[in-house]
Structure formats: structure tokens, C-alpha cells
């Protein structure tokens, strides 16, 4: 074995050991203070208002300046259900039959300008998110449909009253975009936070050079004593993926928090050996196939079922995971969540059968019954983004070829792509995606409810049965019941009515400089980004 290969093999062994949890000793290291964490971000946020924007390009550079009411546990960020307090003192137990949540707040927290942060700031923040005033845009209003009111009976107490008990409420509350704003600033101008940054997070002194970077320095008044460990952060905007990879290799940046394809991971590990550490995780993003129910022959359930039956998800996972950021085979709920289908349950669904030959025979039979001739042509609408859209799209074309379909791929930039889905609605079959921050399957599956209610279901179908199941599981806090309802919904969506399909769930690969410590990969590139726990071992 050549020395290069030996280094590569050793590095892979090290990273695998980390992934297997053998890095416990390393995790127990005492954090060192100091240093500036430089990280690369592929895009620049359109504004600085977390309540308004939807992109991770806002979270990575801006989240370190803000606090949340609750957040995912940074020490256990791979667990999608482990939500802990940030500004609150203790996660509350629901009262009033599951309809009231009372949060007690930390004392002595201040915004960067020295003004105290209290319950009225939290109330003003969530009022803006849940009940936005006219002319104010809130991207996450729909996640709080269960909330009736937000009250602040005293300076340290916030009470959320729900219309009905809902297990989706706490995860929604812990979404990383829910930055706590100063109510005085909001009272002056509801749009103030679009152009300004003023928070109570681990970092302060926001500095921006448009198109180049965002910098911050450690806040001396941060409420978690001893944190942050870093002296500062610098988010460097770099659009090209190859440059971001080289930036880590050349140590111009220590990490990129979104995720790289497997080849980039392997290149970095090969080049840097022990100086690079790789963290990997299932990713709460999924690539979907959306047949257009408004168009023939995709209004025919037999044709749609044939499309999903042709796809070899188990085999595809093995091969595609070597070249693309997809890997995990799953149903409609995030695979690592308690509400997700087990492998045995998945194997009962069309398109997940273990016997691929049988599946494709069934697909051919269905196409024949539906009167679809051999060599039937249609177009797959896709987004002009390599990872993973174009790669998976190309793979799908081959999958459908196996049952006698001839598919062209129409690749469009993001603007025209969405225009086709939302306005023109003239596509045959389209790739679509669902990429969520906090893992909240009860609401994340709203992508599959009727088009009229979902707003983001582009297949154009209406299905009262699916809507009913969605409502029922969102209005019970019984996990067993939720799971049962989720399975039924999954069966209808993916199999019986073949309304829309899952290809594969994404897989997050974060190769970073080994001196970056205290950051743990999570199932979403939106989560665990306040960087309070991160330190540099240099």
C-alpha cells in the first residue's frame, strides 16, 4: 500500500471511530479559550431577519448573534427529539390538558446594547412570527397553527396557549430562525431587524462587508458563564464549492456547515490526514418526485404507482451515496425519528419491496393496464443544482428506462424551476425537495396534504383522507397514535394512491479541520449553529 493510501486508510479509520462514538475521550477534553473560527458559507443572506428568511445562508452567519427560547441540545445534536432551554430555565410540562405551556426565563439577560431581555421581548418576538401585522412577512407562521395566544403575565414568564394539544409545538418553538428580538425595536419599526443585528447571543459587534464576510466578537455578557470559548467568528461567503473545499485544505477556513459531497470528503481526508475530522449524519432533507396530477397520464394512479415501483431505492442508496449527498432510504418522516417507518414497514410499500424484479414487473403490468405504450416519453423537470438534484434526476431516468419509459430531463435555474411548479404547472413529473430545520415530522409532512392547504404541494392533488390523518396526528399528544396515523398517511401517499414519492433522504458530510472542537453534527444544516460551545484546539 502506498504511503498516500495508508494515510487515507488511517484517516478513514479515525473518522469512522469518531462516527462510532469512540471519540468519547476526545469529547471530554477541556475547552481552550481564544481564537477566531473562520468558516465558509455558500450564499449571502438576503436580509438579517430570521423571522422572514428561509435560507441556511442566514443561519450560519447570523445565528451566533441571537438567543432562542429553546434549542436543540448542542451536546446531543444528533438526537432530533432532544430540545433544551436557551433563554428559558426549564422545559415546561404542558398543563390545561396539553394546551398551556408556561416558560420561566433566565434573569439578567441583556441585549448587546445593554437593554434587559424579558418576557415582553419573547412575546413580541413570537407575536411577530405567529401573528404578523399587516405588511410584515413571517416565513414560519404555518408552523404555529396550533397557537391561540402568547402572553407575558410578568417580566420572567411567557405563556403559550394552544387551541388543541400538539406534539408539534415544542419543536416548532425551537426552530433556529426564532431569534428573540427587542420589543422596543419592533415597536419602532417591524422591519428594523431586516437591516440590523441586535441580539443577546454568544457573539456581538456585527460587522459585514457585502459579498465578502460577516464577523462577530465574543459577547462578555453572554449568560452561559465561560462561553463562548471563541474570541470571534468570521463567516466568509464563497459561492463555488471547489473553492470552499480548497479553503479548508489551505486552512483559510476551518469548516463549512452545510455539507460536502463524498468525493470532497475523500479528497480532504487524503490531503490532510489527521488534520481533518469528518462528521456525518442523516439529513432532514429529502428529494421528492412529484407527478403532475393535473396532466394525463399522471392523473392515473396506475401510472404513478408504476413510476415509484420502478425505482430501486435500496440499490440506489448504495451507489448514489458514493457520489452524491443522498443515502438514507426512508418514508415520509425523517428516518431517525420515532415516528419514522422501520425497514420492515418500508418494505411493505410500493417502491421499497426487497424484490426489485417483482417490483418492476408489477410496474410494467400497471403501465400496460393504463394503456401506456413501450417507449412512452415524458419530461422530468429538475433544478439546475448538481448536488443532489441533477445526479438523482439522471439516475431516475435510468430507473424508468428499466420499465420501458423514455424520459428527458429539463434542468432549470431555481427561479424558472419554481415558476414551473407554482405558476405554469405544466410539467409532467418534477423533482422537488423538502428541507426542514428542526425535525418535526408532524408538520414536515404537510408537504403531502391537499394542494389548497399545503401551499407547497405542487402535484396539484386534493385528498381529504390525507388531510384528515394529518389533522388527527397533529391534534393528539399520544405518540403511539401519531405513529399509527403516520403509517396510514404514508401508505396512502406513497403506495395506495401514489400521490408523490420519496427518492432518498440526504446525507450530511462535514469534513472540518481537526482543531475545531465542541461542534457536533446535527440532522439539519440549520441546527446547532450558535457556536457557543465551539473552541479551537490550537
Amino acid at each position: 500500500m502506498s504511503s498516500g493510501l495508508k494515510t487515507f486508510a488511517a484517516s478513514v479509520a479515525v473518522t469512522a471511530a469518531l462516527a462510532l462514538g469512540l471519540g468519547g475521550a476526545m469529547a471530554a477534553e477541556t475547552p481552550k479559550k481564544g481564537g477566531v473560527l473562520k468558516f465558509v458559507v455558500p450564499d449571502e443572506p438576503p436580509s438579517f431577519d430570521g423571522h422572514r428568511e428561509t435560507t441556511f445562508a442566514l443561519i450560519h452567519p447570523i445565528a451566533p448573534f441571537y438567543s432562542l427560547l429553546a434549542k436543540v441540545n448542542p451536546e446531543n445534536s444528533s438526537d432530533p427529539t432532544d430540545i433544551i432551554c436557551d433563554l428559558c430555565t426549564e422545559m415546561p410540562k404542558a398543563t390545561d390538558g396539553g394546551k398551556t405551556f408556561t416558560f420561566k426565563l433566565r434573569q439578567g439577560v441583556t441585549f448587546e446594547d445593554g437593554s434587559p431581555l424579558d418576557a415582553k421581548d419573547v412575546k413580541a418576538t413570537f407575536d411577530k412570527i405567529i401573528f404578523p401585522a399587516e405588511g410584515v412577512s413571517s416565513a414560519r407562521k404555518a408552523y404555529f397553527v396550533m397557537v391561540d395566544s402568547v402572553e407575558a403575565p410578568d417580566a420572567s414568564t411567557v405563556v403559550f396557549k394552544l387551541k388543541y394539544p400538539s406534539s408539534a409545538f415544542i419543536p416548532a418553538l425551537a426552530m433556529p430562525f426564532n431569534f428573540i428580538y427587542d420589543d422596543a425595536k419592533l415597536a419602532q419599526d417591524m422591519h428594523w431587524y431586516e437591516k440590523n443585528v441586535l441580539g443577546s447571543g454568544p457573539f456581538q459587534k456585527f460587522e459585514r462587508q457585502a459579498g465578502a464576510f460577516i464577523k462577530g466578537t465574543a459577547s462578555p455578557n453572554y449568560y452561559e458563564k465561560g462561553k463562548p470559548y471563541l474570541d470571534g467568528i468570521e463567516a466568509i461567503f464563497a459561492k463555488k464549492e471547489s473553492l470552499r473545499v480548497q479553503a479548508i485544505r489551505g486552512d483559510r477556513a476551518a469548516i463549512e456547515f452545510r455539507g460536502f459531497p463524498p468525493q470532497s470528503r475523500d479528497d480532504l481526508v487524503k490531503a490532510l490526514g489527521k488534520d481533518i475530522t469528518v462528521q456525518e449524519s442523516d439529513w432532514n432533507c429529502v428529494l421528492l418526485i412529484t407527478p403532475n396530477h393535473r396532466k394525463k397520464p399522471f392523473d392515473d394512479v396506475r401510472v404513478r404507482r408504476a413510476l415509484t415501483l420502478a425505482v430501486d431505492r435500496w440499490g440506489g442508496s448504495e451507489y448514489l451515496s458514493k457520489i452524491a449527498i443522498v443515502k438514507t432510504v426512508g418514508g415520509i418522516a425523517f428516518p431517525k425519528h420515532p415516528l419514522a417507518a422501520t425497514k420492515a414497514e418500508l418494505e411493505q410499500l410500493a417502491g421499497y419491496w426487497p424484490d426489485l424484479a417483482k417490483s418492476r414487473e408489477e410496474a410494467k403490468k400497471l403501465l400496460k393496464e393504463a394503456g401506456i405504450p413501450d417507449g412512452f416519453k415524458f419530461t422530468l423537470n429538475n433544478r439546475a443544482v448538481d448536488q443532489p438534484y441533477k445526479i438523482v434526476g439522471t439516475w431516475l431516468i435510468d430507473q424508468w428506462k428499466q420499465i420501458g419509459l423514455a424520459v428527458d430531463q429539463q434542468v432549470q435555474p431555481t427561479g424558472p424551476f419554481y415558476d414551473t411548479l407554482r405558476k405554469k404547472q405544466d410539467f409532467d413529473v418534477s423533482i422537488d425537495f423538502n428541507c426542514q430545520s428542526i425535525v418535526n415530522p408532524l408538520l414536515d409532512v404537510s408537504k403531502f396534504i391537499s394542494a389548497e392547504r399545503s401551499g407547497s404541494q405542487y402535484g396539484g392533488y386534493e385528498d381529504a383522507e390525507v388531510d384528515k390523518l394529518f389533522d388527527a396526528m397533529n391534534q393528539t399528544d399520544d405518540t403511539a397514535e401519531q405513529r399509527k396515523l403516520m403509517r396510514r398517511m404514508e401508505q396512502i401517499v406513497l403506495d395506495e394512491k401514489a400521490l408523490g414519492f420519496i427518492t432518498m433522504w440526504w446525507y450530511r458530510i462535514i469534513p472540518h479541520r481537526s482543531y475545531v472542537k465542541g461542534w457536533n453534527v446535527s440532522p439539519s444544516h440549520y441546527l446547532n449553529q450558535d457556536l457557543a460551545n465551539v473552541w479551537l484546539d490550537q
Binding site: 462587508q209 457585502a210 459579498g211 466568509i236 459561492k239 471547489s242 489551505g250 431555481t414 415558476d419 408537504k447
Partner: protein, 323 residues
């Protein structure tokens, strides 16, 4: 001459207006808008009300001619408005990038001139010798190789060689520092893209210098100079070169204008926060106001550069007189 200058300046107005009309309407022919992109983030929970609100805020719900009149009106009074993507004033967004692009353009132009003129002269004077063949091969390679590809090779080369020699991979800085703040960091970042683009740029100018020199060296006055016994160095440098430079200056002028806004990919390869990168981002974000302003800026740079080049002709060749 003054009449000519005034006439040329007046002719710039319809040229710029034509560019304004074209870019305004072409941008709006692309399906989708900036609001749809802003709301595309997670692929889910799309709120049609938020889309409408965003379009109203940005004035996209106004009739197209109202939008056009508002933009052109602002342009004439020097108000370029705000970026639809970042909501920041366009003037400040462009000003920031302008200095990066200007420095790169100047450095690449210097690299190009330093390479192209001596090599073009050598190639012409030593026609059909090994020196001529070497220069031609070098310049053809420069034309054939895209500068962004050369940029990628430079970065990889730096990473690999520094790791092999010093054990630590090194690459140029990826955040811009103005030259007056830290000239070492500034140059260690910008010298590489200047070399990559300057080389390609020099390749065109080298070939132009060679062919212009060959033509001039055949002229009667050069033969006369030789017959008078002038030494070759004087003939080439004082008599031939100045006359051969006319087309070379044109090429250099056009390439300079191109460099100001056209280093689209090279700027991304080196993460230069210049006008080219801003151009790509504003087009892909459907940021109409920013794209329109950038197109107008680049059109203005081209028009002004051409004008300056025309004036420069008169200095190079006193026989040229404008009226």
C-alpha cells in the same frame, strides 16, 4: 476636436438608453422573480401571501412601464435605488466591489502589457525562428486556456507544491483587504488572478502586436530608415512600434473594459468580491435593480473606454484628426 468630443458624449446617451431598455425587459422575460427565490429556502411551507407582500414591497406588482420609468428617472438623477435582494443601496454595494475589480483590471493590464509588447515585437522581428514559434505557442496556449481554468490550476498548484515543500498547504487569502491596509495580503490575494487573466489577455495582445509590427516593418518608411543606416533597435522601438500600437491599444482598451465586469468565473474561483461575482449573484437572484445598474455601469465603462481609446489614437498617430 471639441466638437467631436461633445458629439461623442451625446452619442453615448442613445447607446446607454438602448442598453437600459434591453436589460430591463430581458430580465423580466426570465420566469420567476426575486420573491420566489427568497421564499424557496426550505422547499416547504410556501405562503402565497408572503409572495404577494414581497412583490408589493419591491414594486413588482406595478405595471412594467411604471417600473421602467421609475428606474430610468432615478438613474438620471444618480439614484440607482436599492438592491432587491439585500435591500441595501446599490451605489454602496457596487462601490465596494468596484475597487476590487479596478485593481484586478489594472494589474492584469500591466501583466498583459509587460508580456505582450516585448513578446509581440520579438515574434515579429525574429519571424519564423524558434523564438517566434515559442512566442506563438505561448500565446495560442493563452487564448485556448480559459483564465478561470488556469486559476483553478494555480490554486491547486499552490496547495500541492506548498504541502510538498513545506508540509503545510497554502492558498491565497479568500477575503479581500485593501492595498492601503495591508499591501502584502492584498497582493498575495490578487497577484494570482491578475496573472491568470493577464496571461490570457496578453495572448490576444501579443498576436495583435506581432501582426501589426509585421505590417509596419514592411512599410516604405522603415525601409528608408534602414537605408539611412539607423540601427535596428531605433527603427523598431522609435519608428515601427508607435505606429504598430494603434490596434494593440484598441485591444487593450476593450479587454480592460471587459475585465471590469467580465471576470465572472475567475472572480468566483479566487473568491474575489468584484463586479463579476456580483453580476452572477444578482442575475441568479433575479435582483433586477442590481443587474440593471451593473449592466449600465459596464456599458458606461465600455463606451468611455472606447472614447478614450479613440482620443489616444490621435496622440499615437498625429495624422489622425477628429472633426
Amino acid at each position: 476636436m471639441h466638437q467631436y468630443i461633445v458629439k461623442r458624449i451625446l452619442l453615448m446617451i442613445p447607446t446607454l438608453f438602448g442598453a437600459a431598455v434591453l436589460v430591463f425587459f430581458l430580465m423580466r422575460m426570465i420566469p420567476g422573480d426575486v420573491c420566489e427565490l427568497r421564499l424557496a429556502g426550505t422547499g416547504s411551507t410556501f405562503d402565497p401571501q408572503a409572495l404577494t407582500l414581497c412583490q408589493e414591497e419591491l414594486g413588482l406588482d406595478e405595471p412594467m412601464f411604471v417600473q421602467f420609468a421609475s428606474w430610468v428617472g432615478g438613474f438620471f438623477v444618480g439614484d440607482l435605488g436599492t438592491s432587491m435582494w439585500t435591500n441595501q443601496p446599490i451605489v454602496s454595494e457596487i462601490a465596494l466591489r468596484f475597487q476590487v475589480s479596478l485593481q484586478i483590471a489594472l494589474m492584469a493590464t500591466v501583466v498583459s502589457i509587460v508580456i505582450s509588447i516585448p513578446m509581440g515585437i520579438i515574434s515579429a522581428v525574429k519571424r519564423n525562428t524558434w523564438a517566434d514559434y515559442a512566442v506563438r505557442a505561448f500565446s495560442i496556449a493563452g487564448i485556448a486556456m480559459p483564465s478561470f481554468w488556469l486559476g483553478i490550476l494555480i490554486i491547486l498548484g499552490l496547495l500541492v507544491t506548498s504541502q510538498a515543500w513545506y508540509g503545510v498547504p497554502w492558498m491565497p487569502p479568500i477575503t479581500y483587504v485593501p492595498i492601503w491596509e495591508d499591501w502584502k495580503v492584498n497582493l498575495s490575494m490578487l497577484i494570482w488572478p491578475a496573472l491568470a487573466t493577464g496571461y490570457r489577455y496578453s495572448a490576444v495582445a501579443t498576436r495583435m502586436t506581432r501582426s501589426a509590427m509585421l505590417e509596419v516593418l514592411r512599410e516604405d518608411y522603415v525601409r528608408t530608415a534602414r537605408a539611412k543606416g539607423l540601427i535596428e533597435k531605433v527603427i523598431v522601438n522609435r519608428h515601427a512600434l508607435k505606429n504598430a500600437l494603434l490596434p494593440v491599444v484598441t485591444v487593450i482598451g476593450i479587454e480592460f473594459a471587459f475585465l471590469m465586469g467580465g471576470l465572472v468565473v475567475t472572480e468566483q474561483v479566487f473568491n474575489l468580491n468584484g463586479l463579476g461575482k456580483l453580476f452572477v449573484e444578482s442575475v441568479s437572484n433575479h435582483d433586477y435593480t442590481m443587474t440593471q445598474s451593473l449592466v449600465m455601469l459596464v456599458a458606461l465603462i465600455f463606451v468611455v473606454t472606447n472614447f478614450i481609446v479613440d482620443l489616444f489614437y490621435a496622440w499615437l498617430d498625429p495624422r489622425i484628426r477628429y472633426s
